[in-house]
Amino acid sequence: MVRYVLKRIGYMIITFFVIVTLTFIAMKLLPGTPFKTQSRLSPEQLAQLRHYYGLDQPIPVQYVQYLWHALHGDLGGSFQYGMRPITTMLAEKFPVSLDLGLEAIILGAIIGILLGIVAGIKRGTFIDYGSMIISVLGISIPSFIFAVFLQYYFAVKNQWLPVAEWNGGISYHILPVVALSVAVIANVARFMRTEMVEVLGQDYIITAKAKGISSTAVVFKHAVRNAMIPVITILGPLTAAIITGSLVIENIFAIPGIGNQFVESILTNDYPMIMGTTELYAALFIITVFIVDILYVIIDPRIRLTGGDA
């Protein structure tokens, strides 16, 4: 177990290092080097910036310096916001995005698992077909299109919910969270159904039935638990999907989160901000995948880790 965790941490560090390096290279390759063409900056700021990044020095030195700064949590300053430290800005905006993301994952997972269980048990009935149609739609329709139509119907046309403003209240959460969770519901429901069907066909389900315990107990104590374990594995991809979704959803609903900020920085060529956000997203994704892998090992008693190969 320890070796496995260490190995995974090793990969995590390597992956993150690769990402930081890639962003650095990307930055170097950016057309017209950002520091030359930023008309928004005063000459003093430009000089400060050049000095800060040591642009007069050879690239390898710049790279090491960049790594050194990043390692100390210093990601530079935003061009767009007068060199405000990126780290501060991210720290400010991250909680909003995290909130929405977690709400969407939790809501989506609960509904998705329930739908999947019901569909799996009632295989071949209209309930099954119904929930699978929902899940195909949820998987297929991009969240931003879904969001646009939610916004039109609930906010613009009927004005039941706020359109595109934000004060953090619950009613402001509803539409973005629903829009974000659609993909989660769809993916979890489909995965859960497949697992349920598979598990319900296992011999140990017959053993459980043969004991004479009630069908509800068979389903919940034996089938659901076993079916849910693999569902944990799609948490990683789902986090990626939520991050992707949040870029557009936050934009559509004018939510002051990281996704919105990221899109803005892309459109305004705020390179340090792009880099910082990229690295944050990468870290988020990598850590989620890591936690999922470890969780899986802990939850499934069958996986016994002996040695490095797991």
Binding site: D203, Y204, T207, A208, A210, G212, I213, K221, R302
Partner: protein, 338 residues
């Protein structure tokens, strides 16, 4: 009659894409208290379906019970509601499965899997149930049961898992135990241990056993009565002695011939040529006619009734009819016990 379990004219079929498969076509069986009845036959003969039907574990749909009665202590189990059946399963009749590697829930401690039935049927508290689970593990010969009770199935070997499966089945002292090929998936040395265990437990508990198998060696070891199934029907029944020493049905002859024998030096394994009938379109006459070396015209279109050869032995074969030519069983069936 002190039959604890009696099957009367049981018909079970399954709806599949290629039509209705009649897996069990009119099976009659009787089981007395404390007795062991072996059901033998090759794959697809309907023996497993029969056993699952007794337990009420046939998924419906696609399965359906078209006809017949399953009398347990005189009451027809087929008329029981789902709730009533739950009270029978595990408590009155329980079951051991073929593959111990898949028959246990991989994510539940074995102790808990044993306790479930106890808590449900005997209203035991959790701690009492756990004590009983430990006793049961000890009873089925698992060393160090205090520690083992908190382990997961993957921490047990195949033979040990089968002992756990037996412990689960025996937890509530059932009156009937159905063992569906309990040793098929095990190593030969382990097979003997499990058989000994079952024999031993039967002596202690007096449980009646329905033993489903295709291994005649197992039958000789454990059973008092044998029912030979073929093509969804029981083609011959009798005591172990009758089936082994005086079989009348050519299929039984084939089964006995195909059993390897210790003192046979011909080095030849005898197989029954052909394969079992397609039960989605079962033959009108005797299901074995197509593979029977002694088949007569009558066999093709007319299903023979049971010829009672003795108090206990019945055979569904036209050869027993007095009009039929006299056919002697092949020598290859090997008279046992010499």
């Amino acid at each position: 009659m002190d039959n604890i379990l009696e099957l009367k004219d049981l018909h079970v079929s399954f709806d599949t894409f290629s039509g209705e498969v009649q897996a069990v076509r009119g099976v009659n069986l009787e089981l007395k208290k404390g007795e062991t009845l072996a059901i033998v036959g090759e794959s697809g003969s309907g023996k497993s379906v029969t056993s699952k039907t007794i337990m009420g574990l046939i998924p419906k749909p696609p399965g359906k019970i078209k006809n017949g009665e399953i009398l347990f202590e005189g009451k027809d189990l087929l008329k029981f509601s789902n709730k009533e059946m739950q009270r029978v399963r595990g408590k009155e009749i329980s079951m051991i499965f073929q593959d111990p590697m898949t028959a246990l829930n991989p994510t539940m401690k074995v102790g808990k899997q044993i306790m479930e039935g106890l808590i449900k049927h005997q209203n035991m508290s959790k701690s009492d149930a756990k004590k009983r689970a430990i006793e049961l593990l000890e009873l089925v010969g698992i060393p160090n049961p205090d520690a083992r009770v908190d382990q997961y199935p993957h921490e047990f070997s195949g033979g040990m898992r089968q002992r756990v499966v037996i412990a689960i089945a025996l937890a509530c002292n059932p009156k009937v135990l159905i063992a569906d090929e309990p040793t098929t998936a095990l190593d030969v040395t382990i097979q003997a241990q499990i058989l000994d265990l079952m024999k031993d437990l039967q002596d202690k508990t007096g449980t009646a056993i329905v033993l489903i198998t295709h291994d005649l060696g197992v039958v000789a070891n454990l059973a008092q009565k044998v029912a030979v199934m073929y093509g969804g029907k029981v083609v011959e029944t009798g005591t172990v002695d009758e089936i082994f020493y005086n079989p009348k049905h050519p299929y039984t002859w084939g089964l006995l011939s195909s059993m390897p024998k210790l003192h046979d030096h011909s080095n030849k394994l005898l197989a029954i040529p052909g394969s079992p009938p397609d039960l989605s379109d079962p033959p009108k006459g005797c299901p074995f006619a197509a593979r029977c070396p002694h088949a007569m015209k009558v066999c093709v279109d007319h299903m023979p009734g049971y010829f009672e050869l003795s108090e206990t032995q019945k055979s569904a074969c036209w050869l027993v009819d007095e009009r039929a030519p006299k056919v002697n069983p092949p020598e290859t069936i090997g008279v046992r016990g010499e």
